[in-house]
């Protein structure tokens, strides 16, 4: 029904399209092309559009088709990072705003069809208000004309699943309680903002699968990271995957909760309709930087990709990317499904997993066996407060890593010799033995790559035509230090559930941070012997200038056949950045922190905002050259999409800014098409 893929000209594309169409027809899956039916494009989450009207030759004629305002803007003191990526079905774009207002607009005009506000309170906002996307599900068993045959499902910041009719936005009466399912059930005491969903749910074989982000670093006794599946029609819980207690598959016993403090899944999963598996990119435990109190089960599953059978709710296999994670190397990227050759060159159904460490893994979807060579690196232990807990070695991908060589003193930076000197002193004072230097308390340690990646929630895109993987990535160290409990108490570090005495926008219980959480912030890590201070991006004291030299982020094309880099360019210009937060207005390519991914089109273009320069740009997928850009009022920290209406190709991105990335605030969703 959604099969309006354009497959023309290039033979390779025709063949690949024909194959895709065949497979999709066989499965009855909505197909990417005219539509963008899933958060990640197609059901494989390849972030690839087969559309090819917009090309490197004509992209200069790309201009705004419409700007839609969600009208969901922060109240004073609230932090917003909407990160919204709509889906497009038929003539409609379906999306959620930062505070979970479900919205349908006309995909050609931007005119609003309907909106449904589930009424999320400001209190429920975690680090920042975000809603990355929604899932659309069509229930074959419901009659064609009936309400909610096709429904839009989202999970909210205040931990509810919400389902509304695709055409009208009316809540689906058959789903949960009048269209809502309470996700707090079984989690224990309700603390707004601690347990909040920011990722789109994944619907596999009629089961809505969701995890949640659980505010990092509060308490070892935190809400469970349990992953749950719900019937997409009636909203009944199908299963719960509690990694700490498999007995909880149908919910915890009366009066108890799912296992507390366990690793969660805050990012998007990907579903495999054929195998009936959902691939869960699992994070680290609730206390990221201290591990000795963790359970065996936490150690087994943390920072792993876990395949769970959606029929039974049981895990089938898991692949761990870091053993005994003490670096907050959560799996942040939505995995991507693709076919990849095994040892004998025979293509097998595979899942590709980007990581914050930069390593890109490709695994057999059925077994979790790696299809690419896995290396082992020796992990340093010097300066650690828990050397016995640290793993001796850690896995790496020998197929491809985005990670670069360790930093040296000469990599320290600034705008003048003075601030550079300050950074060189900090470098020499810090504990640093390269990649995987463990947390230390006597002095700060350098964590590189920092917790923003490598790859984060923007994930990577696949160009099946050119056989390329397109990855935008961060390249930033953090400067962290454990804080002894006594000192943490003196600093007044309080967990999120503590009574809020002096709450302001800049000083919320839960963390002490400056504007944005870029720069210094501290988390209490209650029940661990240490709190944690994180200087994200290692910003220098006083000037705010990063201590490491640019680039801070790039975009890279990797050959799917060889795993080798085809091109690699810094992503982002210096126009908005400068010392003391003063924009330099320099149009020079510097390579900036970036969050949000790409959309790659068959027309040969890669569209990406992501960087903190607030530009949205089209890049030649073959060469990496920026061919077109548009200046935005706020940052486009969201994954763009591409779709077609009435024979015209559109590219759309939400440019709503991002609190953590310090790229302003807006409610704009911007669509582009070619000028006639």
């Amino acid at each position: 029904m959604f099969l309006s893929v354009k497959c023309r000209s290039a033979l390779a594309l025709a063949v690949s399209c024909a194959l895709q169409v065949q497979i999709a027809q066989a499965q009855g899956m909505p197909q990417v092309g005219s539509d963008w039916p899933f958060y990640g494009g197609d059901h494989n989450a390849q972030r690839f559009s087969p559309l090819k009207q917009i090309t490197p030759a004509n992209v200069g004629r790309l201009e705004r088709a419409f700007v839609y305002h969600t009208r969901d803007l922060p109240n004073p003191g609230s932090r917003y990072s909407p990160e919204t990526t709509p889906v497009k079905v038929g003539n409609d774009l379906l999306m959620c705003s930062a505070k979970n207002i479900l919205i349908s607009i006309n995909a050609a005009t931007g005119k609003e069809n309907w909106r449904h506000d589930p009424g999320v309170p400001d209190q429920a906002i975690p680090h920042a208000a975000a809603c990355r996307g929604v899932a659309v599900y069509t229930a074959p068993e419901i009659p064609e004309s009936a309400q909610c045959r096709s429904r839009v499902v989202e999970a909210t910041l205040d931990a509810r699943l919400v389902a509304v009719d695709l055409r009208t936005g009316e809540p689906c009466k058959d789903f949960g309680q009048n269209g809502t399912v309470d996700l707090w059930e079984g989690l224990g005491k309700k603390v707004p903002g601690w347990y909040a969903v920011t990722a789109p749910p994944t619907i596999v074989n009629g089961v809505v699968v969701t995890g949640a982000q659980i505010r990092d670093g509060q308490d070892e006794d935190a809400p469970s990271g349990v992953i749950r599946g719900y019937d997409a029609v009636n909203g009944k819980m199908a299963w719960a995957w509690d990694l700490g207690n498999p007995e909880n598959v149908h919910g915890p016993a009366e009066g108890s909760t799912y296992t507390r403090g366990t690793p969660n899944m805050w990012t998007a999963a990907v579903g495999d309709e054929q195998l009936g598996y959902v691939y869960l990119p699992i994070s680290n435990s609730s206390i990221d930087y201290y591990g000795s109190n963790r359970s065996e089960e936490e150690n087994k599953y943390s920072t792993s990709l876990v395949a769970v059978d959606v029929k039974t709710g049981k895990d089938v296999w898991h692949f761990q990317t870091i053993r005994h994670d003490v670096w907050d190397y959560d799996l942040g990227s939505q995995p991507t499904l693709l076919d990849f050759p095994d040892k004998d060159g025979k293509p097998v159904a595979a899942v590709l997993l980007p990581t914050k460490q930069g390593d890109i893994y490709i695994l057999d979807r059925a077994t979790g066996e790696p299809l690419v060579p896995i290396g082992e690196v020796k992990a340093p232990k010097g300066g650690s407060v828990e050397p016995q807990f640290l793993a001796n070695t850690q896995p790496t991908s020998e197929w491809h890593t985005l990670r670069k060589a360790p930093k040296t003193e000469a990599d320290m930076w600034g705008f003048s010799p003075l601030d550079q000197l300050m950074c060189r002193i900090q470098f020499r004072q810090a504990n640093y033995e390269g990649y995987l230097t463990p947390p230390s308390v006597d002095r700060p340690w350098i964590q590189y790559p920092g917790y923003n990646g490598g790859s984060d929630w923007g994930s990577v895109a696949i160009d099946p035509v050119r056989r390329l993987l397109i990855a935008n990535y961060n390249d930033i160290p953090n400067l962290n230090q454990l804080i002894p409990r006594v000192q943490a108490d003196k600093l007044g570090l309080k967990p999120i559930y503590a009574p809020k005495v002096d709450e302001t926008s800049l000083n919320k219980a839960g963390s002490k941070s400056g504007k944005g959480e870029g720069g210094a912030s501290a988390y209490p890590q209650v029940n661990a012997p240490y709190a944690i201070s994180v200087n994200a991006g290692w910003r220098n004291w006083g000037t705010g200038v990063p201590c490491s030299a640019p680039p801070y982020g790039g975009i890279r094309a990797i050959s799917l056949d060889t795993g080798k880099t085809v091109w690699d360019e810094p992503l982002g210009t210096a126009r908005r950045n400068g010392p003391f937060g003063i924009p330099s207005h320099l149009p020079l390519n510097i390579g900036l922190p970036n969050n949000g991914g790409t959309v790659v089109t068959a027309g040969g273009l890669t569209f990406v905002g992501a960087a903190t320069d607030n530009l949205f740009r089209a890049i030649d997928t073959a060469t990496g050259e920026v061919l077109w850009e548009d200046v935005l009022t706020a940052g486009a920290q969201a994954n763009p999409i591409s779709y077609e209406v009435d024979g015209e190709q559109y590219v759309l991105v939400s440019a709503s800014g991002h609190a953590f990335m310090e790229t302003g605030t807006s409610d704009e969703i911007i669509a582009y098409k070619l000028r006639k």
Partner: protein, 132 residues
């Protein structure tokens, strides 16, 4: 020079004001460079003690000496700083090559200082100076 001497003969007051301004600029530059050099030197000694680069200590000392020479209105300040600048260029290229962003903290400030010294240099004394 000739022109200026003739000016000074014809209008001693104006010339005193003019050279006074230059003198003031040189003093301000000397003070600023002195502070900058001492900060570099102090931090540089700290960095050396931590096992880091010696560049900042040496350059900091050079800047302080240059500042003293400027304070005394010595033309030699320009020569000394030109040498510091040249050595800095070599050091910068050795550390980061032609990496443009890497060269920014290493060369921009020091080049600006060189240009400022150049700007005040016409008012500096070439020692030993014969009476005008």
């Amino acid at each position: 020079m000739n022109q200026r001497s003739s000016e000074s003969r014809s209008n001693g007051r104006a010339s005193a004001g003019h050279s006074g301004k230059w003198r003031l600029a040189t003093v301000v530059l000397a003070l600023a460079l002195g502070a900058f050099g001492m900060a570099l030197f102090g931090g540089g000694v700290w960095l050396m003690a931590l096992g880091g680069s010696w560049y900042y200590t040496l350059t900091g000392a050079g800047c302080v000496i240059t500042a003293v020479m400027l304070w005394r209105q010595r033309f030699g300040a320009l020569y000394l700083f030109a040498v510091i600048w040249g050595l800095t260029l070599i050091w910068a290229l050795w550390e980061v090559g032609l990496n443009w962003w890497g060269l920014v903290p290493r060369l921009v400030a020091i080049t600006v200082i060189l240009l400022l010294i150049l700007a005040v240099s016409p008012s500096l004394r070439r020692a030993p100076r014969s009476a005008a």
